[in-house]
Symmetry: C2
Subunit: 309 residues, 2 copies
Amino acid sequence: MRFLPEEQSAALVDEELAFAAVRDALVAAAGDQAEVFPAVAGHGSSAGNRFTVKSGASAGLAGVKVGSYWPGNVGVPRHNSIVLLFDQELGRIGAVVEAGVVNAYRTAAADAVAASVLARDDAATLTVFGTGHQALYECAAVARVRPISTIHVVARSPQRGERFVASLAGRGLTGQVTAAEPACRAADIIVTATTATAPLFDAGWVRPGTHVASMGSDALGKQELPPRLLAAARLFCDLPSQSVRIGELQHVADLVADGTLRLTAIGDVLTGRAPGRAGDGDITVFDSSGIALQDLFVADALLRAAGSP
Amino acid sequence: MRFLPEEQSAALVDEELAFAAVRDALVAAAGDQAEVFPAVAGHGSSAGNRFTVKSGASAGLAGVKVGSYWPGNVGVPRHNSIVLLFDQELGRIGAVVEAGVVNAYRTAAADAVAASVLARDDAATLTVFGTGHQALYECAAVARVRPISTIHVVARSPQRGERFVASLAGRGLTGQVTAAEPACRAADIIVTATTATAPLFDAGWVRPGTHVASMGSDALGKQELPPRLLAAARLFCDLPSQSVRIGELQHVADLVADGTLRLTAIGDVLTGRAPGRAGDGDITVFDSSGIALQDLFVADALLRAAGSP
């Protein structure tokens, strides 16, 4: 069995690798040879320490990802991930990849892939809701695919906001703390990376042509976007069946089910099977709930980058 | 991260280690600090290659087991298992244990633990349905806890039966191929280790005082025992909630739900919280559907047996 430890996977991963692998994963997810199995929510001996198990298979890869969140961790990461890939010749797990840092790249890459086909080419102003670890990776990944010159940071506290702006500067990105309404009104791209359970802004603040990505909604009860925005936008996601169950689209699942709203897998846009943005005035929404195929494809790419065992 | 490869775990495991660890797991499963999370059924890139993901947590352990079955494998095992244990201080997977051979011991150990408290002390005649890999481990494990002198082997073909008898002899056990009815009528203990989806024998063939263990029923639609036997017996299992869903008790789940049949977690018998066999005339049934805690406890015991990393 090959084992890629955290230090090695963290050193090998970058936005380019994650983007290419996640793009392939999203294309695979929209194909008919891929399947994502039900996600499991578990916990440690202390019920406050939580983990999820996601698994899936594509035409070429099959495996399992265990992601954990230990909220009380101090001095060590609270989020950790590990990915298991089957050796399908032997029928056993052939590789284990620790993917704590990798996971942040993998999640951000989905939003970057979506932005690369849904955001206007000239999108220069990015607004981010959330000042956590993941939000930073989101900004860096999106800035790689569009000419972002300004990042508006909407923070729960000025202190958090300023710390986040400093972190952006550390990555060569220019940000400023801005209130939600002006930040939305100025945005070409809005990314939400929060743990919210209610809409973060008013649908009326979003101007025509904006691309909106919801990254935080990945469980029952989570919500970041106003339903009225969803009703007015062109809707895309990683995996429709999961998006309407645990993603942002859970809040309009009935409207998707009865055909009032149309939800498109981003993989179908990437392959040209479905249209993406139709004009500069469209509002587009991408709901990223996170699928195991992303993990499998990124882990596989890392193993190839690491070279022969 | 510690890694215990297949060769090492296979060399370290034996019936004694598996028995002690699985006994602890079954005790934990019946306590109020343990939880088993929903099992997932997945598949490889080829849908015929299947895997399951089971996870759980006890007061001291938390983790995930991936078991796989590649039916077309030739020359390499068709069944494989791997167990991940959380390092709960760090909140990440701290150990990975390959457990292909271990899994056979772990599964057989549950039936041995149950037989050790449910079978009559003088049980000397064992009848086994099934001639597969797992059936051999079942015979060896049960023979370790009761003075088994004869094993009746019920086989789908005489050839399979004779091969199995030879395998038993290789382990110092005396077996003979016998038809289902006389094999049941002679049995003190009956173990079913098949992939059956219909009862394997008639309830009337089972004499008073017999202990019956169903190992094969671990998924929707599987069935090994006649429902009339369940109605006449004292019923035990590893985990009641799972037993009535995917175990042998799925076929009488309504009778368990309405209180007509009483189903007891074997862990409650092991700790003395519930009675086991009440008299020499009782028929007892143990339904083993298999729970992640068994895997976690066995993996933990193997890591301790392997010594410091």
